[in-house]
Amino acid sequence: MAKKESRLGVILAHAPNVSAIDEGLKSELSKKGVVVTTLNHLYNWGRSSSIWPMQFGLACCAIEMIATACARYDMARFGAELFRASPRQSDLMIVAGTVTKKMAPQVVRLYNQMPEPKYCITMGACAIAGGPFIDGYNVLRGIDRYIPVDVHLPGCPPRPEALLHGLMQLQKKIESQEIEKTAWYQKGLKREYPVPEFGPRGLIPKFNPEVWQPRAKDNRKERYGEPILIGKKIKAPDLDAETLRRASGGPAK
């Protein structure tokens, strides 16, 4: 169990934004009706409690995303109910569903079109790594091959609560950022990611090495190869012979 906690430590590795104001003094003042804050806190509070996601569903997980926005789970409680149809008006892209190779250039283009500061959540196994469809010839093994991802949310599909949990992780991340250090106020920021092209068997390039590198040791690939085949098929079923067998009432093979 000790290991587990340390793992959670890895997951929630956003440093809290330490305020310059003494916490005790702050709470003392707030009891008297005086609210003291820093610019950072105010700025991040505003951003993290009004995340506008893009209305962008790809597959099964998109339905759970809609369910999250509906009555039972009500994403509006987090200020994130305003699904914008245009990438120009949104802060967050929830990649909900399988990204196929045919769709990947569009996803990258949409991400490029979003204004800074922008965030990306991959929802569901498919968007993270290809998920159950990982061996398909048209399935991209994770959108993080082309664009940076802030929160990975496993599950197939994740429950709506899990999406809310992921959103809270993102809020924590936003709260840990500081105005002076944030990338989008710096000069020379390059956050346009080149859009891959269609090749004869897949996308060119297969990944963007500045964003993603292959796993050092991939047990799954070593063990099973790809695509997964239980046995290689080299002999087709002979339906004609089967017809004859049935007609003559011979024994089944």
Partner: protein, 187 residues
Amino acid sequence: MIFGAGILKGMLVTLRSFVNSYFKKPDQGGLFTVEYPEKRLVAKERFRNFPFLVYDEKPEDPRCVACDICAKECPPKCITIVRDADAEGRPLKKPALFDIDLSVCMNCGICEEACPFDAIFMDHEFEIAGTERHQSLLYHKEDLLKSNGYFRQIRPSDAALIDARRKEAEDKKKAALKPAAPPEKKE
């Protein structure tokens, strides 16, 4: 019919729904929202998210015997098992490595169904979100092992059934061993 009557009728429905949300029970048309981080839905017993491994007493002795059946039956092949060996290199009946790649797992529950040793079950935990996927979403044996007590807690009726079955099998084993013992004594 006057134009607009249908719209008024519809508006009445939304109004009624608005009023009901204050006065009725959730399943009768009342306020339906579950305010997630503070309140949670009661987890259904059969709910399955990701697999975990069960141990009886110590985490060092899991029920898993590294038979590789779940890894073979897993549809997207997200499980990797390496059997443990003792100092002389003879294979032991436990896993040295048991990895589940959560970024591939499709929560289908086939591993749980196929396991002949009641060693792998589906967990209820869903609050797993990582900023990185290669390490934090690859669960090793240490992360997967959970006690039978935990299993009893999340799925009481299934656990009762399985515990009873295991106890019966154990008793049978003991009973089978006992008659074998006396002849030895005679000799």
